[in-house]
Amino acid sequence: MATSNDNKKAIYSIFWIWLVITIVGVLISIKAPAWLMPTSASSSMHLVIETIVVFSVAAAPVAALVYATTLYALVKWRWRGDGVPPDGPNLRNNSTLTAVWIVSSTMLTIFLLIWGLAALAVDEGGGNGKNPMTVNVTGQQWAWSFTYPGTHVASNELYLPVNDKITFNVTSKDVVHGFWIVQMGVKVNANPGVSTTVSVTPNKIGTYDIRCTEICGLYHAYMVTRVHVLSDTAFAKWLSSQPSRA
């Protein structure tokens, strides 16, 4: 029986379909994330977009393999006769293939894991901004408020100096809220009774969005505010112009 020839023919054809899908997939993977995602305003966000690109590029050949094989099966091995098809070959297993599959998926997973752990280590550092400063974030149903320790300033919109490492201490007055600066790729929950922490270095001047990401009741969808990243001088000016809270 010419079984290995049948295999070779199929593998050859599938290879070319796979190649086309992979190339298309890789191109999309490189271009699409940055195009679809919000502008990047911190190194953390840049890392997020980079990671999505890398993971997509890694996923493209895998997806291509699955899609190419199923496409080929649908076209080439489809039974077009009437009634019940005859039996196919009794191919119960192929130890080599199984071993290769498991080993390569393991290696791919380990690669993604190492990338992820490295990214996590960088991310947790909060970027390499100078002049570290702290901002206290308080979520409550249904608004955010920010205070700047060491000053008497309180605000409902967040103002930050660019290129400084900011550490947020986040808490809630009532239920759990999710503090998310959309364009900076940082998110941490605000819990009542405890303070959670996240750090980031904004690296682009502009106005960005803060949105709540843990359902917190009636106006969860309206619990949004803005963050203004300013130059050092502009920030200092803003800070000194703020009235003291009572």
């Binding site: 997020v48 039996d87 293939l97 752990l117 364009q183 969860h220």
Partner: protein, 621 residues
């Protein structure tokens, strides 16, 4: 009493049964309403009406009354009562309970015949999917453009929460309910499940839970998602109590069914049916049931603690008393993650079974398939905190949970290996069930890969709580599990009803649903990538295009589901007769007549090979 089968009375004159002769779904409802009312009035008179917990306690006790009354009314306690007084059921009673000679009436009663229970589960699943689907259409219609339209945020939030829970319940039972009950006993060569009365108990307990779940919408709903995180779930109105009670009831149903399934597979296999000869669907049902046994007690406990917090002033989840919402989240996700594999595995098992039949090939790498599913189940208990990366709970544990979560992609990949290997050089018979298999392959790949993105913490820092996550799990739940459930229905429909599910209507339904899924959820990925959070009743203007497209896609899915419903109804009544084995399948359920006799086999078969002997004559020739 010494009646033998030969002297069974003629049709319509069934003997035995005692009080069960008078009990059915209607008496169950009456019982439930009466006892609920009884508990309600007693509670209202005896509780302190001024206390802050009055409404919650009243609601909870009423709900408990409903469940107990329903059980009483449908006869669930009859077996227990008869055990207690030492008057066991005789053969006539067992035959009556199994529905012998009862005709259609047996579908409305506490019937133990696993095939009747299977049909009942099909109906219940369809009811749940319809309820969840109506809620989904309400949500998507509301989101067609930014701003509020016909529901305010309170109602929107309530709809999301109940939609989520109803669909989760529907999917847990979608494959396991009908098919682990109807098919598995026959597949292993048994006459019924291990504990036939538990068949009926698990189904009717699920039925009892449904009014509680949907009823929560009527008492103010609950607005904290199906996850019901504390502390906001402590704030909610009495809808939360009914919701929690529904879950506790459902957990009982699932535990009972799980014990039944495990014992059936381990102890009721016929002679020669070694574990290596089990059909893969039986393995998936066994592994899913065992995993569910681990997961559902956590669900029961977390909901019970929530109710206790709300009614008796305990502080499990309330920070000012020393509790913490993080406890709720841990307990919840200890259940929540294994549970999605309880949902997934039976669907995968059914799809693999179908792939072998419609490729005319043996299952590729049987041992790896079983091992992969077992590894999936085993690993799934170690990943739960990936739902909690941003809670601030345990930042140092992020890395380990990232590791375990990424590792899960390896056994998931094995599923693809097995399907592709089974398809390889087969003679692929494109009948209706096979369409859904190919749809599954396409969707599950997208669902699985996007899950890997989410397992990476920096990416998850951006994506958690956004529509990206919603799109990911809808690709898995709708695109993969629901497709598997529909495939199973199309596949086993001829066995259950003796008729084919209409191929033409079925194919129309497939294409509508498949295209609808891509349109709805690919667009939803973009919503999430752009920064739209989830559970938002209204959204910023930049998300309006992707939401509009998602809503159109949802309507396409709805059309597909309506066509499927029409096909089911029409085919059940007057579809083309199929004969006992229209697919020329080799598993045992296809080798018995249709309709399947009450005790499945005249003579129990003896097995000498597994059901994947396709092409063996070719090898031996």
């Amino acid at each position: 009493m010494t009646t033998t089968l030969e002297h069974t009375p003629t049709k319509g004159a069934a003997r035995g049964g005692g009080i069960m002769r008078r009990l059915n779904f209607l008496t169950g409802i009456i019982g439930g309403v009466l006892v609920a009312a009884l508990f309600y009035f007693i509670a209202r008179e005896t509780l302190d009406q001024g206390s802050q917990t009055f409404v919650d306690t009243l609601t909870t006790l009423t709900g408990v009354g409903w469940v107990i009354g329903f059980w009483l009314g449908i006869g669930a306690f009859t077996g227990v009562g008869r055990w207690f007084i030492g008057k066991d059921q005789n053969h006539d009673d067992e035959m009556y309970l199994a529905g012998k000679d009862l005709g259609r009436a047996r579908y409305w009663k506490y019937t133990t015949d696993h095939k009747v229970v299977g049909v009942q589960y099909v109906i219940v699943t369809m009811v749940l999917l319809a309820a969840g689907g109506i809620l989904a259409m309400a949500l998507r219609t509301e989101l067609i453009t930014p701003g509020a339209h016909f529901v305010n945020p309170q109602i929107y939030n309530a709809f999301i929460s109940v939609h989520g829970m109803v669909m989760i319940v529907a999917l847990i039972v979608a494959v396991a309910g009908p098919w682990a009950n109807f098919v598995v006993p026959i597949m292993v060569g048994a006459r019924d499940m291990a504990f036939p009365r538990l068949n009926a108990l698990s189904l009717w307990t699920l039925v009892a839970a449904i009014p509680l779940l949907l009823g929560s919408l009527c008492v103010g709903g609950l607005s904290m998602g199906w996850v019901t995180q504390a502390p906001i779930s402590e704030q909610a109105g009495p809808g939360m109590d009914l919701f929690a009670l529904a879950i506790i009831t459902f957990a009982i149903s699932t535990t009972v069914a799980g014990v039944n399934t495990i014992c059936t597979v381990l102890t009721m296999r016929t002679k020669g049916m070694t574990l290596e000869r089990l059909p893969i669907f039986v393995w998936s049902s066994l592994i899913a049931a065992a995993l569910g046994l681990y997961a559902f007690p956590f669900f029961l406990v977390v909901m019970a603690l929530n109710v206790v917090d709300r009614t008796t002033g305990t502080s499990f989840f309330i920070a000012s008393g020393g509790g913490t919402g993080w406890l709720q989240e841990n307990l919840f996700w200890l259940m929540g993650h294994p549970e999605v594999y309880v949902i997934l595995l039976p669907a995968v098992g059914a799809l693999l079974e179908i792939t072998t039949v419609f490729s005319r090939k043996p299952l590729f790498s049987y041992r790896t398939a079983v091992g992969g599913m077992a590894a999936l189940a085993g690993l799934s208990v170690l990943v739960w905190a990936h739902h909690m990366f941003q809670t601030g709970w345990a930042p140092t544990l992020g890395g380990p949970f990232m590791l375990t979560t990424e590792l899960i992609s390896i056994p998931t990949g094995i599923v693809f290996l097995v399907i592709l290997g089974t398809l390889w050089r087969g003679n692929i018979w494109m009948k209706l069930p096979m369409y859904w298999v190919f749809g599954f392959v396409f969707d599950f790949l997208i669902g699985g890969v996007t899950g890997i993105y989410l397992s990476d913490i920096p990416v998850d820092n951006q994506m958690h709580g956004t529509m990206f996550v919603v799109a990911h799990f809808h690709y898995v739940f709708v695109g993969s599990v629901l497709f598997g459930a529909i495939a199973a229905l199309c596949f086993w429909f001829p066995k259950m009803t003796g008729r084919f599910l209409d191929e033409k209507l079925g194919k129309i339904s497939f294409w509508l649903t498949f295209v609808g899924v891509q349109v709805t959820f690919l667009s939803m990925f973009v919503s999430g990538l752009r920064g739209m959070p989830r559970r938002y009743a209204s959204y910023a203007i930049i998300f309006e295009h992707t939401n509009f497209i998602s809503t159109i896609g949802a309507y396409i899915i709805m059309a597909g589901m309506l066509v499927l419903l029409g096909a089911i109804i029409q085919s059940w009544r007057s579809g083309e007769p199929s004969g006992p084995n229209p697919w020329s399948s080799k598993t045992l359920e296809w080798l018995v007549p249709t309709p399947v006799p009450l005790e499945n086999f005249e003579v129990l078969p003896v097995i000498t090979a597994d059901p994947y002997t396709y092409g063996e004559e070719l090898v031996n020739s």
